[in-house]
Amino acid sequence: MRYVTRRQFLQVAGVTTGIGLLAACAPGTTAGSGVSLVVPTPVPTPAPELSGEMDMGMMRPTGSPRHGGTLRTAFGVTMNSFDIHQGGGTHVLSQMYNNLVRNNLVNGLRTIVPDLARSLDVSDDGRTYTFSLREGVTYHDGTPFTSADVLATFNRIMDPPAGIISPLKAEFTFVEEITAPDAGTVVFHLSAPRAYFLNVLAATTGVIYSEKSLQENDFDLREVIAPGTGAFRFVEHQPAERWLFERNPDYWDAELPYLDQLEMLHVPAWSDRGTAVLTDKADMSWNVAFETWEEGDAREDITANQLPNFGAYWLFMNNAQGPLADERVRRAINLGVSKHNLKAAFGTQEVINITRWVPQGDPYATSPAELAEMPGYREDKSEDIETAKALLAAAGYGDGGFPELEILSASGPQAELLAPAVQDMLSRNLGIPTKIRIIERASLGSEQQQGTYELMVHTRGHGVSDISPRGNLWWRTGGSQNFGSYANPTFDALLTEIDDETEFETRKAQIDEAQNLLDENPPEYLIGYTYHLPMWNNKVKGLALDNRIFAEWGRMETVWLDV
């Protein structure tokens, strides 16, 4: 066993930068309005950085932070569960809790810093993580924080009792056991090293509940706002209206939070979020409508930014039958349908971020400059279309005899804009005839699970940006969410290597190769990830919103108001 210093801890964290986003951040059907042909320029893939200005996870924003005031936010704050591990809204509830480790709010989420963990030892083989916990931390109800809470929290995630739905379980499949040698220490035993393990723990979903709360509520917190150790305490919740939190005077970091209160207004429509900030009815929003974003961007008292997000639009392909079972046909579609055209077609709704299989915001992503030259991703399609036609000919569809395919789409902007654009390019560029069937969004999921589709325009997002967890769910042969029945033994073998590799450069090369494999033999068509468009009044400081490498709708204890 080797001891990891704070600097080493930060280096490990820096290498594995990238974090989960809320499920709520995945693209939805709520549409903004208005038309604009101007879209933000792509954000280059960030290089991991180290933070040298922290002391044991004590995040300190730049400037001269002041205590006091109420921050008013504007975004949707309804949720069907208060249990973060059962789908509860982390964008609201995470204010009340701490993780073991977390993304650094003051350097744009570029590093992972200690939270309830004070320090970390990692064994030489990378399979044992020993966390020393902070002392003197209490929950909002006065209960002391101990290792038993960590144990109870993660055991419930990994081995949920009957009746508990654990969406996070799939992210911890490599954790064999968690032990607590004493009240201040927790040890995670992994079946194999995982480069992204800290990212999973640092996700906004990785909060620690008290063992007491879990036991008192039969391990089901869906209808309980359980006390946390976090910087803010719960005050009031008016359903579909607002949440109110107040400063936790007993927070373990005595400097934080700076705010007295945090008022989260329920503003579901993107345009209303934007007008709320523009008219000073709210101080900030994580994502606003593009036309209001432009208005804010032009104002001196307001700042607007664009951040890569881990929700994406896809054209799913059923690999199990018909022409789409042939990888040459899937590859031809990937080459023949222009992502740039789809981005333009959907520009009135959401700003599409063209990426490969690893999105920007993840350290392994392909840079926009490289992407601009790559087949399938470049703007000039002439060469790609020729290649695609040759592939179709090789697959036996060179004489225009391609059977008609069905494109399934949810009603709304996806059916009105994306599906027709795909249909047009398939027809004009490749001679593939299609018909569009529009169904309720709620029905898409079951059609997908049952495999009763050929092509489907739909959304899908992920929590952790690393390719391993979702690669195993979505693209590994027999993966639990591999609804398109994709099977690629070469990819499977490479994915196993990626899973176990921890050295950054080696892993980068492996992931590049995996993306090449997915380009050559694609399981589906990635239309693109989306950008989130945060906007805030200039008096809002301390969240590094202008410097983040990806969108995270999470904690705010470092925010302060410059008034």
Binding site: L22, M79, G89, P239, V267, T279, S443, S446, R460
Partner: protein
């Protein structure tokens, strides 16, 4: 009159029961599983297994036979509970009681505004028939009748946001908590609705007043030497009000039942916004109960309108 009211209330019962059955069944034949939607929206990548889906369905009582679900809902309604939202698990009655006053205020202010604008314009236009004033008022009436209220609302909100840098508050502020802030919440939606409704009222008032102005009793009143203002106030106005009240009654039912598009345009947290949210989240219980409330309001308002006829026109008697 009492017997008439009792009869109307008795007739209302099967009407409301029919509404509940229709909406209950409609919610269940719409394709797509709301539970799958709710969980996939909140957990993102996670997709419920059949077993988990069955468990959640059972926890919400949706595994019971349809007739049991319906009867349980009706029992809850009779107890004044209305059940719980699928999405937030909050009592629906609480949400309706909290938001209802805002929607009611918007509706009543809109009606008041429509009368304040519509009746004088209608009477003036009728009195100076075919004058420039009449022509202008008719043009205005046509414009405001043609413009959809949600579009007018969007124009107004755009104007206030871009030029005044102001928009209505986003949270519920009840009148008894802060009358000024409450007024700022309801003013623009009321104005938007009131302008359209005012145009309809003005048109109705004008035509009714025109009819009354040439009736024998008006000529007789003038022959008796009564002044124009007195004739209009005593004889024309009262008679012109009957069709106005009918129009207003029907409109009030619609407004109280849900100013959906206008509430949405201004992001006002009223019953209309709640309905839109219920539909987006496929919250069956929310939609069912709101439709029931709307049905009740329609029946009640229609009854009030019928009763008011008898008060305004002594010739009308209900047996």
């Amino acid at each position: 009159m009492r017997q008439y009211i009792i009869n109307r209330l008795l007739i209302a019962i099967p009407t409301l029961v029919g509404v509940t059955i229709l909406i209950f069944l409609a919610m269940r034949v719409i394709p797509g599983d709301p539970l799958q939607t709710i969980y996939s929206e909140s957990t993102g990548v996670y997709i419920l297994s059949e077993e988990e889906l069955a468990e959640v369905r059972a926890s919400l009582g949706l595994d019971r036979p349809l007739y049991r679900q319906y009867l349980d809902w009706m029992a809850q309604v009779l107890r004044g509970e209305m059940g719980y939202s699928f999405w937030t698990k909050d009592p629906i009655s609480h949400m309706i009681l909290r938001r209802g006053p805002i929607s009611a205020q918007i509706a009543l202010f809109a009606i008041a505004l429509s009368w304040l604008i519509g009746i004088p314009i209608g009477l003036i236009a009728a009195y100076w028939r075919n004058s420039l004033l009449d022509q202008m008022s008719r043009l205005g009436i046509t414009v405001f009748l043609a413009v959809p209220s949600f579009w007018l609302g969007l124009l107004i909100i755009l104007f206030t946001v871009l030029t005044l840098r102001w928009r209505p508050p986003l949270t519920i502020i009840q009148f008894w908590e802060d009358p000024g802030a409450n007024f700022s919440l309801i003013a623009l939606p009321s104005m938007t609705l009131g302008l359209g409704l005012g145009a309809a009222t003005a048109r109705m008032a004008r035509s009714a007043a025109l009819e009354a102005l040439y009736d024998d009793y008006v000529r007789t009143a003038r022959a008796k030497g009564l002044g124009d203002m007195l004739v209009i106030w005593r004889h024309v106005f009262k008679n012109a009000m009957l069709p106005v009240i009918t129009t207003t009654g029907l409109a009030l039912g619609g407004l109280l039942g849900g100013t959906v598009s206008v509430e949405k345009a201004f992001a006002v947290p009223g019953l209309g916004s709640l309905m839109v949210q219920g539909m987006q989240e496929r919250d069956w219980m929310m939609i069912q109960n709101l439709v029931l409330v709307y049905g009740f309001i329609y029946v009640f308002v229609n009854l009030i309108v019928d009763i008011s006829y008898g008060i305004l026109d002594p010739r009308i008697r209900y047996g």
